[in-house]
């Protein structure tokens, strides 16, 4: 196990190195002044620029510059956003939780719906529940997220007026940000406004979560189904059946455990897809998350913000993948023997 952990860890280090080198390189690739790209300070006075040059080691060789860059990354000095004048790190700290929150609920929903659906389809292989669910998943798999989001807004927000179409909570509810996870913050405040704020936040969450959960739900359903069918073909299941175990015992006690192993790995891998889809969802539902901010920053050519946002998101995806990998290897001893790490 230790050997395995070491291998993973070295892979992680390499990934982080590649990522930081890429982000560092972006400063040179972006148009505009190198110092501005690094710091986000424009129209600096002479003494200010000198101070910045000193701090960013602009006049020394590229390795020293890269070292200084890494040092600042670790310190949390990610420069200043060109458009807002506030530090990039403060933006990220504020916005990343909103995105993670949305992704987390969507993932929970996908797991709660997708895995049971997958089990049902495999239990009724080639019968009507299988056919219905499989066609539905195919449909869900092929619907583009933005289109689904707009459709739901058309029907449920503008048509029936059942759901709000933007934001995380009604703006008149004043929830001071502590963790920036809105439900947690409301809980920490002991459900202000008599629980109305909590209900309102759930109300705002509903549509974006459904939209975002659509794709991973279908993936998990199909994955669980395939994996279950695969396991159900195995000899030990046949043996169990021959021993006279009933179907419930076979599926729940014997097949499911083994079939879920690859699914667990898949859950972790879904996180990267989710973050990408979350960006689209955030823009459409005006969800104040990092995706919307990143897209705005690209539109405004806010180079320090683009760097910081990319770095935060990719770092998060790498860690999430690594975590999923570790969980998987804890549950499945066989996978620890893989000699090469992969991401």
């Amino acid at each position: 196990m230790l050997d395995y952990l070491l291998r993973r860890f070295s892979l992680l280090l390499f990934m982080l190195f590649a990522l930081s080198a890429f982000t560092f390189g972006l400063n040179y690739l972006f148009p505009g002044d190198l110092l501005t790209n690094f710091s986000g300070q424009i129209n600096t006075s002479f003494s200010q620029s000198q101070m910045l040059e000193e701090k960013y080691r602009i006049n020394e060789n590229i390795l020293v510059q890269y070292g200084a860059f890494l040092g600042r990354l670790v310190e949390g000095d990610w420069g200043v956003s060109l458009s807002s004048g506030q530090t990039v790190f403060s933006h990220v700290a504020l916005l990343l939780p909103a995105t993670l929150e949305l992704c987390f609920y969507a993932l929970v929903m996908a797991v709660l719906l997708g895995i049971p659906a997958g089990i049902i389809t495999s239990a009724y292989h080639k019968k009507w529940p299988d056919r219905i669910i499989s066609s539905l998943t195919l449909l869900g798999f092929s619907i583009p997220v933005f289109w689904l989001a707009l459709l739901l807004i058309m029907v449920f927000c503008l048509g029936f007026g059942w759901f709000p179409m933007s934001g995380r909570i009604g703006l008149l509810y004043e929830i001071p940000a502590v963790t920036n996870f809105i439900l947690v913050d409301i809980w920490l405040l002991n459900f202000p406004y008599g629980g109305q704020a909590f209900l309102d936040a759930l109300h705002h969450l509903a549509l974006p979560t459904i939209v975002l959960a659509m794709y991973p739900t279908t993936v998990l359903t199909r994955f669980t189904r395939d994996s279950m069918l695969n396991v159900l073909e195995q000899n030990y299941i046949k043996t169990a059946r021959a021993k006279g175990l009933n179907r419930r015992q076979i599926i729940l006690d014997h097949a499911l455990r083994n079939a879920l192993l690859p699914v667990i790995k898949q859950i972790g891998l879904q996180f990267s897809t989710l973050i990408t889809l979350a960006m689209v969802t955030e823009v459409i539902f005006s969800w104040p998350g990092i995706g919307r901010w990143l897209i705005d920053s690209i539109y405004q050519r806010d180079y320090p913000a683009i760097q910081g946002g990319l770095l935060a998101v990719s770092m998060f995806v790498i860690f999430a993948n690594m975590l999923a990998d570790l969980t998987h290897s804890l549950l499945d001893p066989v996978s620890r023997n893989q000699s090469h790490g992969k991401v």
Partner: protein, 551 residues
């Protein structure tokens, strides 16, 4: 097999039941607390959907209309204001004022007992007095004022109308009397003091910030005397104001005023339909019908003093050649723009001034004539055209509801005479900043008046001082033109002023630093339960009297 499934389901059912019970328990406990909390903190308030982030919370340092709409009339008061109907001056923080015979001394008597905002970052110990007035105005022109150089000493409105060059000093006669002493009498000074920019700040607060070495926070965490006080600003998200409990004028302001920052026009309308917004600014003309068809939404309409124009960077070749500017002006089809962009809700411009201004005189405007345009181009030495950028503002304003579309129309018109254009767009505040640095070739922009005085259309926009402060999008500095403006300001005689402004208007069309395109009509959509949000013909939005729920 069926039994297996039912087994499975019942087992799940147990979990689900369990879940439901705990959820209900949670709500039950939450609900028992409800009554107490609810009475303590009501969610009464109004959500206003605004089109852009505020750039600052001090109206002195900006002229961006979208910012002034949010901050000026909500957080602050000025000494006097202009009645939107009669255009006469009305007392605000000054109860009376007196101008000396030579016009060089103006004395204001201040209102007593005006309280500043009390917030979590400042508690005032005294009411407003002469010191606050002197501090607020001296910041604009007095280099010894400790705040003069905060924010790069940029006070675009006051500098462009030359107010910083006009005031000699401000004298404190007693605690509630101040006297402005001027270098020369100027007819537009009172109306400039009545604009949304000339707000009264708290001197006590300024001293407190300065003593903590936090001058940079002064403009972003505002203290004023207006009906609402600042609570919170989250960029791209919201601005939250609370009621100022001890507002001197009245105490029926709503508990909370929230600005939902929604840059997209369509989203703003959609939020109106889903009731996420109570009021929205600038609904686009295409959607007006959809809005007025709803019983629960009212669309207000008001004439407004404004102009949308197409300005050329006259310092940059080839736009420094008047023939080129004329060629461009003759190449665009104004009628098509009026139909496609304003949907018949605008007035085609006949001068830079709107027809409702007293100094207005219809000019001989350029007409759509590609042949003539080509002739001008050849004469200027560009028979084969050239390449240029056309900057289109990204937000919808009264004077230009859809600059992008207008830019596309102009682009296709210019292609007819062989000019290739690239449309440039940025986020609004970045856009304004870059235009201020004159990075553009040409720009679609506009101006909404702050006072009914015609000078408001000339000095802040096209004077030489406006060029230096980055407010002159045409980058046009013409001494003759400036002389006309000064002459018009030096006299109080209406007929003389009118004469000078007529010449100035004619000169603009002759020199064509910008092409006036249209005067927009101001729209606002509100829920039918919202009262007291009137539109004014000039200046920013005022929500001081807005109320909800009374039919």
């Amino acid at each position: 097999m069926v039994t297996a499934m039912t087994d499975l389901i019942t087992k799940h059912q147990q979990y689900i039941n369990h879940l439901w019970i705990s959820t209900f328990a949670l709500f039950a406990t939450a609900c028992s607390d409800i009554e107490q909390v609810e009475s303590a903190s009501k969610t009464q308030g109004i959500v206003y959907c605004a089109e852009a982030n505020p750039v600052s919370f001090n109206p002195q340092v900006t002229t961006t209309g979208s910012t002034i709409d949010i901050i000026a009339n909500q957080l602050y008061n000025s000494l006097i204001s202009i009645d939107p109907v009669t255009a006469e001056f009305k007392p605000e923080l000054a109860t009376e004022w007196h101008i000396s015979d030579d016009g060089k001394k103006i004395t204001f008597k201040l209102r007593k007992g005006v309280e500043f905002h009390s917030t979590d970052y400042f508690s005032p110990t005294r009411t407003m007095n002469a010191d606050d007035v002197i501090f607020s105005f001296s910041r604009l022109f007095d280099v010894y004022n400790p705040y003069h150089f905060v924010q790069d000493a940029s006070y675009p409105y006051f500098q462009s109308v030359g107010m910083d060059q006009l005031i000699r000093k401000i004298v404190k006669v007693d605690d509630y009397t101040v006297r402005f002493e001027l270098f020369s009498a100027e007819s537009s000074l009172l109306s400039n003091i009545a604009t949304d920019f000339a707000v009264i700040l708290s001197e006590e607060y300024a001293i407190q910030r300065a003593s903590k070495n936090e001058k940079h926070l002064f403009d972003n965490m505002p203290i004023g005397t207006g009906p609402y006080k600042y609570k919170h600003f989250l960029r791209d998200n919201l601005v939250r104001f609370h009621k100022h409990e001890r507002y001197w004028k009245h105490d029926y302001a709503v508990d909370q005023l929230v600005y939902d920052i929604t840059t997209n026009n369509t989203t703003r309308i959609a939020k109106m339909l889903t009731k996420e917004c109570d009021i929205t600014s600038h609904p686009s003309a295409t959607q007006l019908e959809a809005l007025s068809a709803r019983k629960d939404i009212v669309v207000d309409k008001a004439v407004n003093l404004n102009v949308g124009y197409w300005a050329f960077n006259t310092e940059k070749p080839p736009f420094n050649n008047v023939l080129v500017r004329k060629a461009l002006a003759h190449s665009i089809d104004f009628n098509k723009i009026m139909q496609a962009v304003f949907y018949g809700n605008g007035i085609p411009a006949k001068s830079i001034l709107p027809p409702s201004s007293w100094a207005f005189a219809a000019q001989n405007m350029p007409v759509y004539d590609p042949a003539k345009a080509k002739a001008y181009l050849s004469e200027a030495g560009f028979p084969n055209g050239f390449e240029m950028t056309l900057w289109a503002m990204p937000v919808s304003r009264i004077y230009n509801p859809n600059a992008r579309k207008m830019a596309e129309l102009i682009q296709s018109d210019l292609r007819q005479i062989g000019i290739r254009t690239r449309i440039v767009e940025f986020e609004w505040n970045t856009f304004i900043e870059r235009i201020g640095r004159h990075e553009h070739d040409s720009v679609l922009l506009g101006w909404a008046a702050d006072t009914p005085d015609p000078d408001n259309f000339f000095s802040p926009l096209l004077s030489c001082t406006a060029t230096f402060t980055g407010k002159n999008p045409a980058n046009w500095c013409n001494p003759e033109f400036d002389l006309l403006l000064t002459q018009a300001l030096d006299t109080n005689e209406l007929s003389m002023r009118k004469k000078y402004y007529l010449q100035a208007q004619a000169m603009l069309i002759e020199e064509m630093p910008l092409v006036p395109i249209a005067h927009g009509v101001r729209f606002q959509a509100r829920g039918s339960d919202i009262q007291g949000a009137q539109l004014r013909p000039f200046g920013g939005v005022s929500l001081a009297n807005v109320r909800k729920g009374e039919k």
